[in-house]
């Protein structure tokens, strides 16, 4: 999670206007999810992977690791879709078995659906990774602020983002201090130590929030965390490129739309 954050600040696409990156990721994801054939999602997956690896310069090993994260969920989900269990007359199975009136197996339709689900999910995930690997959270929050998302929401988001790191660091220090005194030597002490760590962390965080409030107050805080944005000029060529890619994907989705499934169920 922290590695993603660091790549977001150092990727080669960092200077690109965050609005362009957000639009690209979101529009592409919508096309990917709306598509009813695997062709467009596959194209999305390829394009996003290419953008992340070659335009943003993220190491492929790291990207591959990220992509395998959702795989376990995905495989379980896809399997339940692919395997069809029926008690009635057996549907046209590609392979399967009937035992005591219950038929378990793959039908062509369920297999197609599973494949579609698989590539769609991976495609959508790649869109989100593209966004999070190229756009720092600070800029996403800035965008939300410009889109007039309620101030409370935006302020909470930015404070949480800032203090995740502070609190993580505090927890890490406590963990090191505990384990250097054999705090995690056995399972029993580990449970005790962990409990103390969590309780302590809560106290410390509360204390820190008080200190933060004092510091804000001394800078004339009056209820609004207003900050100045650095204006960024959108790039015409980037917008054209994004429009072209998404148009291509939309056409691809429409052209192949329903094609494969329609052929199976005429």
């Amino acid at each position: 999670m922290f590695a993603i954050d660091q790549y977001a600040y150092t990727s080669r696409l960092r200077p690109v206007h965050p609005g362009e990156k957000l639009a690209f990721a979101l529009v592409t994801m919508v096309i990917c999810l709306a598509s009813v054939s695997p062709a467009a999602p596959l194209a999305v997956l390829l394009i996003m992977t290419g953008a992340v690896l070659f335009r943003a310069g993220i190491p492929w090993r790291f990207y591959l690791k990220l992509m395998t994260l959702p795989l376990s969920f995905l495989i379980i989900g896809v399997l339940t879709v692919a395997v069809s269990i029926s008690t009635g007359p057996p549907p046209p199975l590609l392979s399967g078995r009937t035992l005591g009136g219950i038929t378990i197996g793959f039908t062509a339709a369920s297999l197609q659906l599973a494949v579609l689900l698989f590539v769609k999910s991976l495609g959508a995930v790649s869109c989100l990774y593209f966004l999070s690997l190229t756009t720092p959270m600070v800029e996403v929050i800035s965008l939300l602020r410009r889109f007039k998302v309620p101030a409370l929401f935006v302020e909470l988001m930015s404070l949480i983002y800032r203090f995740i790191f502070v609190i993580m660091e505090t927890a890490e220090k406590m963990y090191v201090a505990q384990s250097s005194r054999w705090g995690y030597a056995s399972i029993k002490t580990a449970y005790i130590s962990l409990g103390q760590l969590v309780a302590n962390l809560f106290g410390k965080s509360y204390h820190r929030s008080q200190a933060l409030f004092t510091a804000l107050q001394s800078r004339c805080y009056n209820g609004d965390l207003r900050v100045l944005e650095t204006p960024r000029a959108p790039s015409r060529s980037n917008i054209m490129l994004i429009a072209a890619v998404d148009l291509f994907l939309a056409v691809l989705a429409l052209y192949t739309g329903g094609g494969l499934i329609a052929r199976i169920h005429p």
Partner: protein, 308 residues
């Protein structure tokens, strides 16, 4: 214009847990000075600072800014906090934004300044603290020293008349500590009154124009560095060591190596210039200096100490 920009007049304050943090503090800060407040942990330095910009309200006594008593309605408080800025000791509890630029812009924006002016002030504060290169870096990837600079820029951008900094050199290595002290010297040259709290007597001695010593919630001594650090009884009561420079100077003087009527030097260079160089006759090189009594010193072939 009043001579003292900030005054605490017999200020008393207790925390809800019963700790009597301030017990009649009397402190007057000279306008435009570099002031150091010395005192051990728990002496009440931070509590007093929080009174200086109206975060805490005295239970007894008065705080005056620019000759006028501080009032605690919203408008007066805003006016006070605009003029008196505090840099807190732990930058991690001061910096609230993950973006350095946005962080620094918070204070000046609250002053209701136009955007262009805010932008100018942020740029200037970043230049003064030498962090312009960190503009696009997230706060959590900065080093401790860098965060410290950002927290100073936070306050600089508000262009206050007084900057208070709580333990600016705590946890900094000597090199960065010196850079920060240089920075405060530059800020002070621009006319801003600077108040620092510290445990470091050496630093306080060479940096400050005026020094306060606090203990158990009161000021037990004050004066120019020369006055304060020659008052052995005061230092003893306050549990403070003499600055090494003052100690060396006193020792040299007691041993007759320095004339008794010379002023106290403020830096090592000044001290070394005071010490006369003795030339060995003939060779032109420095002659050995005997600190011991001449009578007890054996005759030496290299010099004529015994014979003279």
């Amino acid at each position: 214009m009043p001579e003292f920009i900030l005054e605490a007049d017999t200020v008393e304050f207790s925390y809800p847990d019963g700790t009597r943090a301030l017990q009649g503090v009397f402190m007057r800060i000279p306008r435009g000075a570099k002031v150091a407040v010395l005192g051990s942990n728990g002496a009440g330095k931070t509590t007093l600072f929080l009174h200086f910009n109206g975060i805490l309200r005295p239970a007894g006594g008065r705080v005056r800014f620019d000759g006028r008593e501080v009032r605690y309605d919203h408008r007066s408080l805003m006016q006070l906090r605009k003029n008196v800025g505090i840099v807190f000791q732990d930058p991690d509890s001061q910096l609230f934004s993950a973006s350095v630029f946005q962080e620094i812009s918070f204070g000046p924006l609250n002053l209701g300044l136009p955007r262009e002016e805010v932008r100018r002030r942020v740029e200037e504060a970043m230049q003064a603290t030498e962090i312009t290169g960190l503009k696009d870096k997230p706060t959590h990837l900065l080093s401790y020293g860098q965060k410290k600079r950002v927290s100073i820029a936070d306050i600089l951008a508000m262009e206050p008349a007084v900057i208070i900094c709580d333990e600016p050199t705590a946890w900094l290595d000597p090199k960065h500590a010196e850079q920060v002290m240089e920075l405060f010297k530059r800020i002070n040259n621009g006319g801003t009154t600077v108040i620092l709290s510290t445990h470091d007597v050496d630093m306080a001695y060479s940096w400050a124009d005026y020094i306060f010593i606090m203990m158990h919630g009161t000021v037990i001594g004050e004066g120019t560095p020369e006055e304060v650090f020659q008052d052995g009884e005061l230092l003893f009561r306050a549990d403070l060591a003499r600055p090494r420079l003052v100690e060396t100077w006193a020792q040299l003087r007691n041993k007759g190596l320095l004339p008794a009527d010379l002023p106290l030097p403020r830096s090592w260079t000044e001290l070394f210039e005071l010490v006369p160089t003795r030339r060995a006759p003939g060779t032109g090189g420095p002659a050995p200096v005997y600190v011991l009594d001449r009578e007890g010193t054996p005759a030496c072939a290299a010099c004529s100490a015994r014979r003279r």
